[in-house]
């Protein structure tokens, strides 16, 4: 004897119907998911090379990140001349760096003025490369602009700017 089954439900013509609020809300929800899958909200970075006066400045910087995520900014200064470049300093805009929750420079900055964090990298021999690394933890949301300048022998020999977008 088969087990009893409860009375069957009445017949219903199955159709898909949306409420007015769903016509607006569902594309937004699906849109967020599709954009996330496509990487729109993900971390991304860029390699930027700028030719200066006897130096080649290479930046590996984040272009997009999210609150609380860790990023690394790498600045390489290549002396492309056949003579040493003395008293080289890398100046990184303070307004940009202070948008981040934590920032650790390697090497450590030897000074901070109103505009910049100043990292001294000494003398760069001919054809040599020196590197400054900054570990960052994203904090404030929005687009943050940075300016980096390289000073050698008391004059600006290279300059670059970029921006990083931080999602909340």
């Amino acid at each position: 004897m088969s087990a009893p089954t409860p009375p069957a439900p009445p017949e219903l013509k199955v159709q898909i119907r949306f409420q007015p609020s769903q016509w607006l809300g569902l594309p937004i929800l699906f849109g967020v998911v599709v954009l996330a899958i496509l990487g729109f909200f993900g971390q991304s970075g860029r390699l930027l090379t700028v030719i200066g006066d006897g130096v080649e400045l290479t930046l590996q910087h984040p272009t997009r990140t999210r609150y609380g995520l860790h990023e690394q900014l790498v600045i390489q200064v290549h002396n492309t001349t056949q003579r040493p470049l003395d008293a080289v300093e890398v100046r990184m805009s303070r307004r940009y760096i202070e948008q981040f929750d934590q920032y650790d420079f390697l090497p450590t900055p030897h000074g901070i003025d109103d505009q910049s964090f100043i990292v001294s990298i000494g003398t760069i021999p001919p054809q040599a490369i020196r590197q400054v690394t900054i570990a960052l933890t994203a904090n404030n949301a929005g687009e943050h602009w940075a300016e980096i300048s390289v000073i050698g022998g008391g004059v600006t020999v290279g300059k670059a700017s970029f921006s990083t977008w931080v999602f909340p």
Binding site: A3, P4, E11, I16, L29, F41, L69, F167
Partner: protein, 161 residues
Amino acid sequence: MDAVLRVVLIYGFVMFALRVMGKREFSQLSPVELVTLLLIPEIVSQGILREDQSLTNSIISVSALLVLVFITSMITHLSPFAEKVINSPPTVLVHKGQLIADHLNRERVSASELLSEIHKAGLTEVGQVEWAILQSDGVIAIIPVNQASATGEADKNMPTL
């Protein structure tokens, strides 16, 4: 991308786990069941969000979850088979005053628990019950003998939807 994948995996796993646990976990919760359902979000939140505590990640994860819930409801609405697989079908516990012991044991409903539900329905004994059905949401629907026959008469006069 990662957050969406993690939500899909966790959603699938939790849906599967809750489906396996049975219907009772959705209704009046015993202490063990309550603790289980309270712990699940605590455990899976790490798996979904990881170290990314950003608002953006939370919005992505919630959107992915709601999209999955919506897609699941669409599928169950359109396909009776999917509805049967995703939402466990109702289980008859009593029919015409007779306990169906196999179903009670399978759903882990004790006789005293069933009697308590029968009392809540204003009845005193199993013999007064035409149908006692454990619904998909964990509630036990009690249909008394007289009401069942009255409903049956009414059903005959109702137009098809």
